[in-house]
Structure formats: structure tokens, C-alpha cells
């Protein structure tokens, strides 16, 4: 495992731990399910006289949302990781501009 892989895994573990901790603290403090702020504001908008929020495609169940969001995260994450290596690896084929590499503060 190289340094990049190790650092990425450490970041992953820390973020996951933070999110799990925040969720449990939030549920204990507020006794709510910590739903999205977007949904809460949508409900506020509807109550204020806006239209009924809905999906033009299909409505996902709660579990469907978990799967869908997870899938987007996985796919986007794989894209990000693959292209990150391509963009920043020293041996990448991406043309480098070496004429004016200036370290600056």
C-alpha cells in the first residue's frame, strides 16, 4: 500500500467515524431522524403556498434513497479516484507545463 492509498483510507475512516458520531449525537439530542434540510425547506415552501414537491421521474422509498445515494457515491468515488491518479501521478501522460512552475505562498 503506498502513501496515497494509506492517506485516502485514513481520510475515509475519519469521515465515516465523524458522520456516524454526528448521526448518533443528533438523534440523541433532537429525537429526529436528521432528515435533509432540503426536504424541510421544501415542506416550508409548500406550507407557504408553493406547489407540492414531487419527482417528475419516480418516487423512491426510504431504502431506495439509501441505495441510490450510495450508488452515486460509489460511482462518483471510483471516477474521482481513477482520474485523480491520472491527473496527479508523476508518470501520467497528461502534458505538464514545466515552463513556469512557481512555488508560491
Amino acid at each position: 500500500m503506498d502513501r496515497f492509498d494509506r492517506n485516502a483510507l485514513i481520510v475515509l475512516a475519519i469521515l465515516a467515524a465523524i458522520i456516524i458520531a454526528f448521526y448518533n449525537i443528533g438523534v440523541a439530542l433532537t429525537r429526529t431522524d436528521l432528515g435533509g434540510a432540503d426536504d424541510k425547506v421544501s415542506d416550508m415552501a409548500q406550507a407557504a403556498g408553493g406547489g407540492t414537491p414531487h419527482s417528475s421521474l419516480y418516487e423512491l422509498s426510504q431504502n431506495g434513497e439509501y441505495v441510490g445515494f450510495g450508488l452515486i457515491g460509489v460511482i462518483g468515488g471510483f471516477f474521482t479516484g481513477y482520474i485523480w491518479v491520472m491527473a496527479f501521478d508523476e508518470t501520467s501522460n497528461i502534458q505538464r507545463d514545466t515552463t513556469e512552475v512557481t512555488r508560491h505562498n
Partner: protein, 230 residues
Amino acid sequence: MHISDGILSPAWVILWWIVALAFIVVGLIQIRRKSAANPGYIPMLALMGAAALVISVWHIPVPVTGSSSHPCGTPMAAIILGPFPVAVISAVALFFQTFVGHGGLTTIGANDLSMGIVGAFTGYGTWLAARKGGFGIFIAAGMAGFIGDMFTYITAAFQLAISIHPEALLNYWGIFMMGYLPTQLPLAIMEFVFTGLVIRYIADVRPEMLKWAGWTPPTVKTTKAIGGAV
């Protein structure tokens, strides 16, 4: 700030689409020009697009407010790609997010305006102003992330207020902002940190990428910067 279908009036849905499309067209032209000049631009465009997709579905619980929300990622992308191309990648990300019920299909224009346009331009403008003001890269990029994030949600609140109650715009703008901002403020601080770290990393490893968006680093190598070389 992902506004669902059905909330905004049709007239405003169409107007936001027209505004967003204007920026998207300019963004596509700029993408074509920048990718011809820099072969590495397209991979970074794809990287930032994927990052914006993930970051803006990344619901993070905020314990004290009882809700969760997500950062934007578009200010970070604007610093590297330029603000107009971010309108394009943001629209693509929003399109895919409709398939998981995160934002509406008809409101892609409105959501792109708040996240991909206002978020990108305010973030990019903050970056330029902070760098010109002598702030270090981490602080300048962090400020860009924070300001861009905040203005995204301020814009979304404005879009709701002007569509639903234009006669009491300021009043309802404030109400909807209070719906978003308490949860969003800690996440904007988080966006400050990760935007600063990513841009700092790029400045160390591939500093030439920061010129793609039109920002020219100072030629004096030892410029003293406020905030230090974090």
C-alpha cells in the same frame, strides 16, 4: 439547495432555465477552448464533475439542528476550471441526481443557477480577491469555498421566495434562509477546510493547473502572504 419539482411556478422554472442555459453555452465554448490549449483540462473537468456529483449528495448530519445537508464543491471546481465550465458540470451532476430524487428534473435550471453558477462565481471571485489581498492559498481557497457555499443557499432561498411570495420577498427570503443556513453554516466551514486543502495540494503538486481558470500566480516566488503558507 436542491429544489424539487412542483414547488416553483412554471414561469420561474423557465426563466431560471434560460439564465442557466446562457451560462452553460458559454461554459461549453470555454471548455472547448481550454481543452484545446491544455490536454490535461478534460481529465480535471471529469474529476471535478465527479467530485461535485459526490460532494453534493454527501448528506452530513448536523447534530444540533436536527437535519443534514451537503456541501457544494462548485467553488473548488471554479478555482481550477473557471466559473463558466462549472455551470456545465454542475448541470450534468444535477441531472444524474434527479434519478435518486435529489432535486427535480424541471428545476435543474434553478438548481444549476444556485449551485453551479452563483456558487462558482462567488467562490471564484472570492478566490481572486483574497489572492490579490495577499491571503495564502489555503485561506483564499477556503474563503472561496465558504462564501460560494453560503451564496448557493442564499440564492436557493431567493428563488423560493420570489416564486412563492414575490410581494413579501424579503420576508420569505429570510424565512427560507433560516431554513437552510443553520444546518449549512457548519458545512460551509467544512467546505472551507476541504477546498483549502485540495487547492493547496494542487498548488504544491501541479501549480500550472491553477492558471487554467485564468488566475496568474505572482512571479515573485517569495511573496509574503497573509495567512501564511498553510
